[in-house]
Amino acid sequence: MTLEVRDGEMEAGGVRVCLMDVAEGFLSLRRSVENALGDVTAILLYNAAFASYRGFAAGAIARGEAGRGEAGFRAAVRAYRESGFGGFAIAEIDLGTGHAAIECDEPVAFEAYGVLKRGDGELRAVCDYTRGALAGLFTEHRGGGEWLCIETECKAKGDARCAFEIGDARALTAKLLRG
């Protein structure tokens, strides 16, 4: 991915971007929202990333820069990794049945990194923006449907890696409810 830097603006892959400190920028923003809204912050981040990355994928597909299907999803996850969000790798994928498993060990997923860097103790998984981004990309490359991404392991709460599962929204919601 090419990065173009001009005075006062920066573009990566044709999209304007800016640099934000993960721990003191993104996570501080998250903490401020959490202070105001509580636990719902996780869903708000998820929904925002879902819409953003689904739209990003739809645009890339419409412009012919990306294809639908497994190859397109793999390329999208690779682009997410190359954008500095973490060392994400697809461990399993079956777009036909609607299932994917994605892992991130090193470099640590950016949200978990922020928590570890700040020394905030966390009891739950924190990579909610990433969950939304992966679900948005998966949904668009799968051609629609009701899919959910859950985080089954997270370095921020002491697990060895961050691990994500994407699948049927109803089945994964039931899994979450059962704990």
Binding site: D39, V40, A174, L177
Partner: protein
Amino acid sequence: MAVATSNPVDLLQGLVDRLQDVPGVEGCVVARRDGLVIAHNLPAHADAKRMSAMAAVIVNASLNATLELERGVYQLTIVQSSVGKIVCAHAGMEAIFAAIVSEGANLGLILLRLESIARQVEEVLEYI
């Protein structure tokens, strides 16, 4: 209710669907306390994810205000608009629900039905 062996989402969807029979209820959503959609029968123009997140914010803020101002035990929140109401409440410790109610509907009857549904939602989530 065979809660332990059934998919809890299907059970809760069944409860939500029962509200369709109540005159004046245009749609309803049940969500986890953090805003994750569990089941809904919202009209096509309503986004279940956004509705669930907003309902969670409304319930959490209402709950906090009730505690902060020492107003006893939180029960529900009614948002009144020019074309109807949105009724939000919690269903036990784990879930919340929100119903879109049309103007002129029998609110007393609807609240009774919602209260009953909330108890059943709580029961399902308690025994899964």
